[in-house]
Point group: D2
Chain length 348, copies 4
């Protein structure tokens, strides 16, 4: 890998061969203030990064290293991203930070998103073994956490469904308009399942299919309810249904707001996001296509009379993972928040 | 076209070159008790049916005829399907039936689905010109209208979204469990837009896209609310959001039932559909794929505690149009209800 | 399973849970002269067939049985299909036929398609252990083998790519117009890879992808060259490139015929297939879509001046596997060749 | 639009709302040495660029202007791209250049790609009206025309299929290995048809389809044969078949090279492209996916013994249009050839 320029951040990535890690590398390689120092990959250590990820040819050089090498290498970087499977970060992160107290770290997994070990165990199926680290993390839903993220050392990057939901729900909560049963649905692409082939992502069976899973029981409810609890004291119950669609990238989220009409919604989101660089608000439905490959999100509002609907579209690998991670890194390190994130995706 | 066997129904189809008409021809050509007498097509009159619809090569012979020829030919058939654009049936149907009082007719358009001319004008954008014919039609949601359909002469076939909704909603209404704001969402394939190319079905822009349209204002609400009103006197408000997905066939409908848990739902649908030949009930989510190319529908139920979710999957061109039309024809003519409708679609 | 009617063939299927087996069940369940006696599935034995293959709900009843049970059950059926992975049939078939000399058997694998054990070992990577059985099989490319198939007991069903190639090549060979380097390409859908998830059929990586594999070295060359050798004594060399496309069903084959123009091609194929019920010939390119879910094939011809191109489209699971198997079974058992095979696929 | 920095090129784009124009804007907006001065769009003049092309929100500001306004504005820019329908550039370009002799211009259409007006009329269906301008243009297949492109004022950007072909054919021609009938096939995505909906790009009919068109007669043969004629004096005949696949972006080209084996091919392409920044050479097949959204191309080689196959993959909107246009602009204007073109596309 190239030597960093004088003023560039040196960044290491744990877990660079998964889809989230690969997208992180895409954003980081185009970031003018970043130099990628090293990238680990469990089973690909020793192989050329751009051999495993041919899209990065010309953009990222060097080989994947092992996780042990990454742990050693953490002393030589300014920022670390951990893009590992759930339950692995809680082992690695304490070691890394204790050995390198100055390190800034963004965790892409579910391990540090709430201060609720019992909820973690319920939703992620294993006991949390680093509970004292939980309160040290800032939850990285950037637009509403900007003040806490500036200068933060440890950030838990939100989940993809959580991001799609919060874009709609957080401003509603702040406006005191989240009440009773809140029905919402998120339709996701297949990249959300990761790079390991399985039956539900087997092309012949996914190509033309739609199905739901974990209705009302998805693990991202944990962090969404926890974060909304910091905004609103009102009593509401999220009825969230995740679904799988026959496309690769993006999440289309729909939130029903009976009693809150399109006009009121337009005002709430204009106020919430009017000054944002990476969130657009429109009347009507956005197209999921508009955000694929991009760091940008859209919120659309519609409805009839007093009843409304909110739509959000994000790239699950972008705002739902890698680009929000970089956005948070920018804030943590005092850079312009949108640096490295302004490139447009294709129109088609 | 071949001469009908002694005991075969002679059937004519108006509008056979559209997607619904083409699917009707597919079902009718495989129906052992049906002989297709003629098929009209506005702009394709004179062309070979299997030249315009190559999938029907070997299954349907002859040429499309003009609408005028179809009107003349209606005296020589037992059953007519009208698969014309909305607003055209109300002109044609009275003429046909007055000239041929014995004719049995299934209208596939929105023209005769309710006895609510004002609602029709609101949702379909033009005044209804045959309002005295409205009460003569039976609404053909087969599973709940079987008694009225047996022997009926005039049937209004339900809309595709309406069918996906009613499969879930009608049993809830019958069970008195439809109350307050009922949030539901239908995700449809591109064939629902018909065979005329337009921007929202332009392949480069639809291939990987999801979007919503007419949120809370889709015209099928008219017939669904009207029909549910005949079942339940309760007060409820449907909050329906239609969406477009990147696939061709099928509608995946999701209904939120806070306060009605999965266990109760399972009982309601087992009772409603347990004896049905063409409707399956399962725990969890069905796959949309299971119904593509088939006359069969699935209802799935799930949830957490007292809160539930209902999923339905239909083929929008099958149960949402052509196969329900044939199912209704079978009842109207005293045939076995599932005749011609039992063929399975592919696993992939 | 239901009892067979007096005059129905009793059919057993080995390997009914794979994609080819599932499609066989779809065709057999709709075949008026067939009663499915039993179906084996290695890992699914004991499970309901229509639970594993929900598309068959209402069409096929009963549970999958084990292979051992199928071996026992072979004495009670008239016809057996073996739809097992390559290399397994050569163990099973001799046992079955020795125990049941009257049995008619269609093997869907590559094991018995040529009388060339050395070629088999080269292309399929293992020694053939039943070489004395090879000459007992008829190669089941129906349209050119009809005379041998009538009354045959043992039939080796052609491979999917082989079928797409032979539809174009066999008439050329018969016309003495296959010479020199013959360049051809077959683009296949993902169902050709079977139902086991792997990286090349992982939805995120296949959704929008095209790639080639085994260029000039695909194992179906073995049977194609062998079969063409029985037709033509000319010297030619097939340059075949298989490719994978982002769809599920079908193979689009393109054959270059420099020196043989469109006019001559049209005559060759009109003569070859003009009387065929399940093969259509047209000028220009067919659409792959026309054959998906159907037993029908299309051959198209085009070109400029003396240089031509031939296109063939087949459903890899239909004419490329299951429907050709049933077509062969019909001939073997003295039924109408197209019985159970006339149903049309959808227009979209 | 923003004011250009001191050292930025001022660029105007004619035809910015089509797919090629939109992709040009995507590349130009990310180009550090470019400032977009204005963009025309026939029917969208007056509308916000990022309203018509929402993917460009935050990347391109301002409104589309009319073509007349663009003609006036050409005096204030350094470079113009003309991304208009075929046959329109030949009217516009002479006017623009006569009025602004210093202007540098890249034409994206077919109008100025050869010095063969008769061929143009044959393939593009209309007489060429600016034949004296033809010899003034440099054909912009960058990798083989670099010397002529440096400092050129007028460049004709190659067609998308032509680029996919030439990547394989030009080095073969230079090596004297292009002889006899050269069979090749290009499979393209739907974006190649442009943004006007039509039947062949209607989603229900394209979703799962493959078809061919203009076999051996595609208009890009004109420029390919013309350009290869400048490299090789040998006698060969291109047998090119274009095909349409069910994806949006990219062209996968396959060239048969009987008599030229994989080893020799590997040497030819290593020599041709070993020093290239934007072309990769590998053994075996590339994945089309690797180039979608990127300026990079791949060449793969394979085969058996003395017979070979060459594969090329390009993004039809990238190297096949917009990114090659920018690559050429960089050379014309003395910039680093890859400036603005190094960003990676996604892995999925």
């Amino acid at each position: 890998m190239k030597n960093p320029a004088q003023d560039q951040l040196r960044v290491g990535v744990f877990g660079g061969s998964g889809y989230i890690g690969a997208e992180l590398l895409r954003y980081l390689s185009a970031h003018p203030s970043v130099s990628i120092s090293w990238v680990t990959a469990h089973s690909r250590a020793g192989r050329g990064i751009a051999d495993v990820l041919p899209n990065l040819r010309g953009a990222v050089s060097g080989n994947f290293i092992s996780q042990a090498e990454g742990e050693d290498g953490s002393s030589g970087v300014d920022v670390v991203f951990t893009a590992l499977p759930h339950n692995e970060s809680q082992d690695l992160v304490p070691k890394l930070v204790e050995a390198n107290p100055e390190l800034r770290l963004v965790d892409m997994a579910g391990d540090f998103r709430t201060n609720d070990p019992a909820g973690y165990e319920k939703y992620y199926g294993c006991e949390h073994t680093a509970t004292d680290w939980l309160p040290r993390f800032v939850y990285g839903f950037t637009e509403l956490q900007r003040d806490k993220l500036r200068g933060a050392r440890l950030v838990a990057n939100p989940g993809c469904f959580a991001t799609g939901m919060l874009l709609a729900l957080a401003p509603l909560a702040a406006a005191g308009r989240l009440q009773g049963d809140v029905c919402l649905l998120g339709l996701t692409g297949s990249s959300g399942s990761g790079n390991k082939p399985k039956q539900t992502t087997h092309h012949p069976e996914r190509f033309s299919n739609v199905r739901s899973y974990k209705p009302l029981a998805h693990q991202h409810l944990l962090e969404v309810e926890s974060f909304l609890g910091t905004i609103s004291g009102e009593d509401f119950s999220l009825q969230f249904v995740p679904q799988s669609g026959p496309f690769v990238r993006g999440i289309f989220t729909t939130v029903f707001t009976p009693g809150v009409g399109a006009g009121e919604l337009a005002k709430i989101y204009a106020e919430a996001y009017g000054a944002e660089s990476l969130v657009e608000v429109i009347e009507g439905s956005p197209d999921l296509r508009w955000v694929q490959g991009s760091a940008r999100s859209w919120v659309g509002v519609g409805g009839e009379g007093d009843n409304g609907v909110v739509f959000t579209v994000i790239d699950n690998l972008g705002k739902g993972a890698a680009s929000q991670g970089v956005q948070n890194m920018n804030l943590m390190c005092g850079l312009d928040e949108t640096e490295g994130l302004r490139a447009a995706g294709g129109f088609v």
